[in-house]
């Protein structure tokens, strides 16, 4: 087996070296470098599109999904080798997608065969971009109090209501959406449906963020007709699907604590402060803070590996993603606080060329959402206290 894995590693390395364009082996510089795919996506370069097409054709955007659904059919061990080899070469992820990280796993578990065949391959190839219609103005942390109605009209549901904070709703092709199908039962009256954002009656209004970007929207549904075949799982049992999907969302968001391919904090500090004669960054207090942060970050990388291995072996407590999300996102916020402290007044520039349009400051502000999106840190801690620690009253 390990010999097979060695062969697989060598072949993977060769393939990546031959197929990953040089441009796609550099760290992300800004949001514009991220590939989201979808009907309306404008690729930032030919290389970005080529990389997606090649990886998509091989099923390596979703290496461990079955081949029948557009995946790579790799074992957990092979998928890990692929990740390692991509990291070694510095390959960018070819596709960033809520379809991959959230809807896909939920469909694999709860979807009908027809739904899997219809939706999974386009996700794998980056052809259809999804958004998540969960939160509503009065249903945030208390998601199950959502009010968007879906009435049974024989062959279809008629959907009316409003969602909020829907990330990229204005650029997405389809939405996975929680709707109320039974007003008398809070958790037991929610259903999980899918529909095209081009269906008549769907409209979106972007909300500007403190980072100056506008990635999320208010989304309105006015007599939207959703075919019944787009109901995932059973009627009124959508909460189970929603919770399962949230676990995957939390896993994905906790990955932020691992940091991307960006420059190290130590290097930023050396650049901004210079060094003392012995080569240490000339800012002792900050140096100590960065060093302690790196200890936590390295430990969290180990935890992530442990978590992924246990997850694949189905040995993880179902509430463990909450712990991971909490730690990972708090860590990522700290990383960017330190990046701002290290960068000083340079990092505060908002529009200048030398700050690449305020890239650090905007990324710093964006991280403040990490502990809010996908369920706040407070909610994650409540879940840990209640479901893992089994504390009374929690």
């Amino acid at each position: 087996m390990s010999e097979d894995l060695d062969t697989f590693r060598a072949e993977t390395r060769d393939w990546l070296e031959a197929n990953c364009p040089a441009e796609m082996r550099r760290p992300f510089r800004s949001e514009a470098d991220v590939c989201w795919g979808g009907r309306h996506f404008e690729f930032s370069s030919a290389a970005q599109k080529l990389w997606l097409d090649r990886m998509g054709a091989k099923g390596w955007t979703v290496p461990d999904w079955p081949r029948a659904y557009g995946g790579g059919g790799l074992s957990a061990a092979e998928a890990k080798v692929l990740r390692e080899e991509m990291a070694r070469l510095g390959c960018r992820p070819p596709l960033n997608s809520f379809g991959i990280s959230m809807l896909g796993p939920a469909l694999l578990k709860y979807g009908s065969e027809a739904q899997k065949l219809e939706h999974l391959p386009p996700i794998a190839r980056g052809e259809i971009r999804w958004c998540q219609g969960y939160s509503e103005p009065n249903a945030g942390s208390d998601l199950a109090s959502l009010a968007t109605r879906a009435e049974d009209r024989g062959d279809h549901f008629l959907v009316n209501g409003q969602k909020v904070w829907t990330s990229y709703a204005d650029q997405a092709d389809w939405i996975f959406c929680l709707v109320r199908t039974d007003p008398s039962d809070k958790h037991g009256g929610i259903s999980f449906v899918l529909f095209d954002m081009e269906t008549p009656g769907v409209s979106t209004r972007p909300i500007l963020l403190i980072s100056g970007y506008s990635p999320f929207c208010e989304t309105f549904f006015d007599d939207v007709s959703v075919p019944k075949r787009n109901l995932v799982g059973e009627l009124n049992k959508g909460w189970d699907v929603a919770k399962y999907l949230l676990g995957h969302e939390r896993e994905m968001i906790s990955g932020m604590g691992l940091g991307g391919g960006e420059v190290s904090l130590g290097a930023v500090a050396v650049e901004a402060f210079g060094t003392e004669a012995d080569g240490r960054v000339d800012a002792p207090v900050l140096r100590g803070r960065i060093a302690l942060f790196e200890v936590r970050a390295a430990a969290f990388r180990a935890m992530s590996e442990k978590f992924m291995d246990e997850l694949k072996a189905r040995r993880v407590h179902p509430a463990q993603p909450s712990m991971m999300k909490y730690v990972g996102t708090e860590l990522n916020k700290q990383r960017f606080e330190l990046a701002m402290a290290a960068g000083g007044s340079d990092a505060l520039e908002w529009e200048s060329e030398r700050s690449r349009g305020g890239a650090t400051a905007r990324a710093w502000l964006r991280t403040k959402a990490n502990s809010i999106e996908g369920g706040t840190s407070e909610i994650q801690l409540n879940i840990v206290a209640k479901r893992i620690l089994q504390l009374p009253g929690a």
């Binding site: 939160s135 009065n138 945030g140 942390s141 208390d142 109090s145 909020v164 904070w165 909300i207 500007l208 963020l209 403190i210 100056g212 901004a272 402060f273 800012a283 002792p284 207090v285 900050l286 803070r289 916020k333 606080e337 701002m340 402290a341 960068g343 000083g344 007044s345 340079d346 990092a347 505060l348 520039e349 908002w350 529009e351 200048s352 305020g358 400051a361 502000l365 403040k368 959402a369 502990s371 809010i372 999106e373 706040t376 840190s377 407070e378 801690l381």
Partner: protein
């Protein structure tokens, strides 16, 4: 001296607070930002500052001011912080006025009455890199004719592109890193070879990089004595650092007030989110941190006004602690607002941005903690 405001100081607060709320609330900052205003503050508001007596509050009465001190300046600055009011008050009315106190009779006569009346705006050109390191000053001042030629660059100069007067720290002797050999200059706007490039910062304020390309100034532009400007610079910095601490307290208090309001109003799970004990404890903790920072800041102000030896250390404590407390306040503020806290429409994010800039200005908590350690010999 008791660590609370005197009756006179409380009266000043009673006029500064409604003034800022009415004339320069957060909407004022938003307006300037959305209009892509190129000045960085509203000149009309600055005239009103003058009418209120704020501009020259630290100027001696003989020179047209009110002859007040750091405590009073702090009262105005805290209200500015609470309302995120953009204004050249800190650099002009606190920084430049303190620096000019050590200046010649001509310098004082030329500038102080104009500052007090709101005619002149000043900027402090001290830092040269992305971090505050005043002893590292490298901008050269070479003797030329009957005066000096200044060459080098400055960074992070708030209002530097519109200031009538620049207070410039330059090196006439010694090496970067030394306190000896620093000379302060009063440089007028429009001097030949002076190029200011304003950059917009995250909080929508404007700070300039300034290039001095052989700017020649007369000998009487020197503030105090040649080569011994450090003492005046240090006094000036103590005043502006304490001022920035007050503004940070205001930012913290403003963010906290918004957050407490939201905790009472926002309902989830059928109750006000403020009824969750985890949020109650954190709100109470924030209150405690803020009270501590407030005491440290008032202590520094009083010691500065009493010209007490312990003032310098108290200033380091105040600037660092106010920065940390305000950081907690804005971070908790955004977090406890949930998704709405991430939106540009809502004000809490503006508090987060202003905190960042003020925390960096004149040395962040790391810088001051390091100085305290060095002073204590470890």
């Amino acid at each position: 001296m008791p660590l609370f405001h005197t009756d006179e100081q409380a009266m000043l607060l009673d006029s500064a607070r409604p003034f800022m709320v009415e004339q320069a609330p957060v909407a004022h900052l938003r307006g300037l930002r959305d209009a892509k205003d190129a000045t960085g503050f509203a000149p009309g508001l600055w005239r009103q500052f003058a009418e209120m007596g704020f501009c020259g509050m630290l100027v001696d009465e003989a020179e047209g001011g009110l002859g007040l001190g750091a405590v009073e300046a702090g009262i105005v600055l805290e209200e500015m912080g609470r309302n995120l009011t953009p204004s050249p008050f800190l650099a002009t009315s606190v920084g430049a006025v303190t620096a000019l106190r050590g200046g010649s009779a001509t310098q004082r006569g030329t500038w102080l009455p104009r500052i007090a009346s709101g005619e002149a705006v000043a900027a402090l050109a001290i830092d040269e890199g992305p971090h505050h390191r005043p002893a590292r000053t490298a901008l050269r001042a070479e003797r030329a004719g009957n005066g000096f030629r200044l060459s080098g660059t400055k960074s992070f100069v708030q209002h530097g592109h519109v200031a009538d007067l620049l207070i410039v720290a330059a090196r006439s002797g010694g090496e970067p890193g030394e306190e000896e050999g620093i000379t302060l200059f009063a440089v007028e706007r429009g001097a030949e070879g002076l190029h200011a490039t304003p950059e917009r910062l995250a909080d929508a304020s404007l700070a300039s990089r300034i290039a001095f390309e052989g700017v020649t100034v007369d000998a009487d532009a020197v503030i105090g004595e040649v080569g011994t400007g450090w003492a005046t610079l240090a006094r000036t910095l103590d005043m502006v650092r304490t001022g920035a601490a007050s503004e940070l307290l205001g930012v913290a208090a403003g963010a906290m007030a918004m957050t407490i309001g939201y905790l009472k109003e926002r309902k989830q799970f059928g109750v006000a989110i403020g009824s969750f004990q985890v949020l109650q404890h954190r709100a109470a903790h924030l209150y405690a941190e803020l009270e501590v920072a407030r005491a440290a800041t008032l202590k520094a102000q009083q010691l500065l006004d009493a010209e007490d030896e312990g003032a310098e250390r108290a200033v380091m404590v105040a600037k660092a602690m106010a920065g940390l407390a305000a950081q907690l306040a804005v971070q908790e503020g955004v977090q406890m607002h949930g998704g709405i806290g991430m939106t540009d429409d809502y004000d809490i994010g503006l508090y987060m941005k202003r905190h960042r800039v003020l925390a960096e200005l004149f040395g962040d908590a790391d810088f001051h903690a390091d100085r305290l350690a060095r002073l204590a010999g470890y």
